[in-house]
Each structure stands twice: as C-alpha cells, then as structure tokens.
C-alpha cells in the first residue's frame, strides 16, 4: 500500500507537460496587452483630473508680457519617463470610417480621419507641414492605414511583435525616418501604423497603440498606397 506522499508524487508524473498551442500563448499575450491598456486608462482618468487642476494653477500664476500666449503644460509627450501604457488615453472623438481606434496619445490632435487613413499629431504641431502618407512621409505624427503596396525593406532588420494576439512585423523604412508596424486584423486586412523615428516611441508604446486599432468594413487603401 503506497503512502500518500508517493501517490501525490505520481500526480505530477501523470500530468507530464503537454505541448502548448502557439495560439493559446498568443491569446495570453493579447490578454496582457488589454490589461495594460485598461490600467493606463484608469490612471489617465485620474491623472488628467490632477493635470487639469495643475494646469489651471500654472496658467493662473503666469503673467504674460506683451500679449504672449500663456504657456500650457504639455502632458503625454512621447519619450518621457512615463510608463509605455501611460501615454495613451481612451479616444472619444469621431471614429474614422475605415478603422476603430480605442486609444490615442494624450493631448494629440486628429488631422485626418476617413475610410483610408487616421492621422494624429502631437500638441503644437504645425499641420501645414503634414502631408499624406503613401506619397510623402508624414513627418510629425502617427498614421494608420491599410498596408496596400507598402513593404518593409528586405535588407532591414524586422522585429516580430504581437498585436491582437497575432504576429506582426516592426521595422524601419528605407530612409530610417519612420517605423512601420504591419499587423493582420481579424478580418484578414493588413494594417500599417507609421511612426516617425523623431517621436522616440518605444516598441511597447507602438504595440499598445496598435492593439487598440481594428479595421471596419468601410476601410479602403490610401491613395498611393
């Protein structure tokens, strides 16, 4: 008759490690991404209340001279010491026809929003310099569009990341001026997120932003793309 400790030990042996399906692992990663987004949204709601109160104090305490504009407090700037997830806030503006956008960088402005593209720029950007992607690179902001004919350079290193639980590619454009994140969505479309290198975004920040994007049935390729 075996002792109870022997039987307990055989329970481990009886359930020897089974191979794990890649899809299961990807789903675990996707759940982690969503949890991060939810957490930063809760933080931003709290911090934006504090930020608004602090900005009101700063605004009230600065005395402009000669009609200069009152300085405003920039928040949510990329490349700051915020955690990757803290730079996004829930997007409550009008959704583009071609995409559903869950979160955008705090304080950024929408420049273009339609069935072919969704373009956003940081606060203070001179939008006269913004041009449409596909033909000339968008120098200042982030662009979301269908991949179309855009391809990452074959001789450039490409990192594999996970977006919506699926493998996605992240690499630099030929001139290194931007990074492209190309990922498949559940409808079979390939989405391209273009991020200028000058923004200094981390991989985590780019992936978190992309995780909040899905394609609608109205999406169509951008001109020149």
């Amino acid at each position: 008759m075996r002792d109870i400790t022997d039987v307990l030990g055989t329970l481990r042996d009886a359930s020897a490690s089974e191979p794990v399906d890649d899809g299961v692992v990807a789903a675990d990663v996707a759940r982690g991404h969503r949890a991060l987004i939810l957490r930063h949204r809760r933080r931003v709601v709290g911090s934006s209340v504090l930020a608004a109160a602090a900005a009101a104090v700063i605004t009230a305490s600065v005395v402009p001279s000669g009609g200069d504009s009152v300085p405003t407090m920039a928040i949510g700037q990329p490349g700051t010491q915020q955690t990757p997830q803290a730079w996004l806030a829930a997007y409550t503006g009008a959704q583009p026809a071609g995409f559903t956008v869950d979160a955008v960088p705090v304080g950024w402005r929408v420049v273009s929003s339609n069935s072919a593209e969704f373009l956003i720029v940081p606060p203070g950007t001179d939008t006269s310099s913004v041009v449409r992607p596909g033909a000339v690179r968008l120098a200042s902001g982030i662009a979301v569009l269908l991949q179309g004919d855009h391809r990452l350079p074959s001789d450039s290193p490409v990192a594999t990341v996970t977006v919506h639980g699926k493998a996605a590619q992240l690499g630099f454009t030929m001139d290194k001026a931007a990074q492209w994140l190309i990922f498949p969505d559940s409808t079979g479309h390939k989405v391209l997120v273009q991020v200028p290198t000058t923004l200094g975004l981390t991989t985590d920040q780019i992936v978190l932003f992309a995780d909040g994007i899905t394609v609608t049935s109205a999406a169509k390729p951008a001109m020149g793309g």
């Binding site: 039987v7 329970l11 009886a14 759940r31 991989t203 992936v207």
Partner: protein, 168 residues
C-alpha cells in the same frame, strides 16, 4: 527593472515552457476541474504580464505560481463560499485492504482541505518544491509551510481507513 521592449518575447518564452505546469497546479487546487483551472491560469498570466518589468528573472516562476494559487483561492471563495463546507476532520473513506490509494480519490480528498493547506501540500508533494520555495510562493514563513503541509498530509492519511494506511 527589465527593459519593457523585451516583455513580449520573454513572456512568450516563459508561457510556452511553463504554462502546462501552471495549469496542473491550478487543477490540483481546484479538484481537477480543468475549465476553472484554465480560467485561474489565464487570470494569473494576465497579472504576471502587467507586472513583468518589475519581476526579477530569478523569481518569475515563484511569482507565477503565487498568482495561480491566489487566482485559484479567489475562484473557490467566489463560487463555493456557500456550498463548500470544509471539514476540520475529513470523513473516513473505506478502502479495501488490498486496494491502492488511487489518484482520483486523493484529488477528491485533497479538495476538502482548507485552501492554503491544500496549496502547501500541492506545491510540496505534487510540484516537488522545497519548504523554502513553497514559502516564497505562498508568501509565508518556512515554518508555516512545514506545519501546514504536515497537517495536510496527516488529514489525508487519516481520511483512509485504518487497515489501509501504510505507517512510514
């Protein structure tokens, strides 16, 4: 603190190699209910992913097990608080003189132990962790682990009839 950009790659590697073992731990804590065990592991891995940059590489295994144990205990509390009655003394289970103590019976009896006592027994005698390692997972002292696991074994042994016990 680990670099954030490594998180997906490192987490994927960890889950690929350790997920099955975590499901096993959860199943033992949840009376071999695979569906609830899967839920507990998903909850635990989500917490682990969020905390990943703050978890030292040499403690990620213990951290993951702790998340699974906590998720499994939370599961039992939320679903079975009214229906489950823990027994201070486990009812005796008659076993024929020549019959082995089978795994199914052990798992069923294991499920009747108090949650943290059950966790101590599972981690020490099924997962094969040392008392120190088990203490790290449960967030308690080594002495507490030793007394909880010893008492758990005593109760498991006492649950089987006198003539089938094997005195060690």
């Amino acid at each position: 603190m680990r670099a954030a950009f490594d998180r997906d790659h490192e987490f994927t590697e960890f889950v690929t190699t350790r997920r099955a073992a975590l499901v096993r731990v959860a199943a033992m804590l949840l009376a071999n209910d695979r569906a609830r065990a899967e839920d507990a592991v998903q909850t635990a891995l989500t917490r682990l992913y969020v905390a990943w940059p703050r978890v030292r590489p040499d403690t990620v295994d213990a951290y993951a097990r702790r998340c699974v144990v906590n998720a499994a205990i939370d599961d039992r509390r939320s679903l079975f608080r009214r229906r489950e009655r823990l027994h201070a003394e486990l009812p005796e289970i008659a076993v024929a003189e020549n019959q082995y103590v089978d795994e199914t019976t052990v798992v069923a009896v294991l499920a009747r132990l108090a949650p943290r006592m059950r966790a101590a027994v599972v981690l020490r005698y099924i997962e094969g962790l040392s008392a120190v390692e088990t203490a790290a997972v449960l967030g308690c002292s080594e002495g507490t682990v030793r007394s909880q696991s010893a008492r758990g074994l005593d109760r498991l042994r006492a649950a089987f009839s006198e003539q089938s016990r094997n005195f060690v």
